[in-house]
Symmetry: C2
Subunit: 165 residues, 2 copies
DNA sequence: TTAATTGCGGATAATATATATCCTAATTAA
DNA sequence: TTAATTAGGATATATATTATCCGCAATTAA
């Protein structure tokens, strides 16, 4: 019933990657350090993002992760779907077919109203998250950051990112 | 990440209770039989509905369950909340405060955009379910039932419900 | 070529949650 | 009282989540 915390981690990780200059990359060690989370488990989330095509990976020395496409085109739903999958969270087991007064196949041409309502609810949930691009997350975080912290973040990126020109 | 199947069971159980004449009740054995689910586990869901004030229980001989209020005023969200609770499914652990570039308290007067987006998504999810009263579920199920099945359901209720006049 | 770095995938384990059942106590109609 | 019936706790099992480690493949620099 709960959402894995990997979703939160991955969202913040993507927000950091969105700060990188084009072509630059961050290793998982650096990302884990920046976010303050255990590296091995974060690696799992990053692999999922990679499989979903949201980030590009570069192996070997000076390798790391970078966004696969423009931050404007990556939504929180993309990240959630990559980590949690797209299977419906409500599972209809067709209870109406059970028991002494169960419905026949002919009486069940469409999902019952209960299943339909949950499908609809999940649909609006999905659309709400899909309407939030990474750029919005980055802009919101930047808006509340002090000038000093912005400076520190820029310095940290200069020091830890690879592929900088 | 998934929703317990108890929600589906409870929703269908409430839909059955909504068919009862005023004052009539059904035992959990009868309900479990009607729905085709294991009685002991269904009992847990019914207890949760009772604690939430959605159903009334009558112990002792000829006891059972009945809706606590008009079916028009019980929504699928009421039932979901009774079974799964109202705690947010997305848990914000304030990752922005972590690491070498973590935000200070002063920079975090409000939830970050990630947490806010998930809160908003859960809100629209909740509202979608809250907009579906039991009466709509019952009407939808009745609409697809054949006349013969409606007859069988009425007969079954006559035979199994207690407190009939 | 060799060595160092780094992500990938599989295996593993600890913990938490969901699923399912049973038993005893409390309650109530007959 | 007696039989029926729910409440609540204890318990067992299955599944999911959280977390870590290790060997392999890929890449780069010396």
């Amino acid at each position: 019933m709960k959402i894995g915390k990997g979703v939160e981690w991955a969202a913040h990780a993507c927000a950091v990657l969105a700060l990188l200059p084009p072509g630059a990359a961050l290793s998982r060690e650096c990302l884990a350090d920046y976010l303050g989370v255990p590296p091995p488990y974060l690696a799992k989330q990053l692999q999922a993002l990679s499989r979903a095509g949201l980030v590009l990976t570069q192996r070997g020395a000076a390798g790391g992760y970078q966004l696969a496409r423009d931050a404007e085109t990556i939504s929180l739903w993309d990240i959630t779907a990559a980590l949690e999958g797209t299977a419906p969270r409500f599972r209809c087991t067709e209870i109406r077919r059970n028991g002494p007064c169960g419905a026949s196949s002919a009486e069940c041409p469409a999902p019952c109203d209960i299943a339909a309502a949950f499908q609809q609810a999940e649909s609006v949930y999905r659309e709400t998250l899909a309407a939030v691009p990474l750029t919005q997350v980055v802009a919101g975080a930047t808006a509340v950051a002090t000038d000093g912290r912005k400076q520190r973040i820029g310095d940290w990126i200069q020091q830890n990112a690879s592929g900088l020109s």
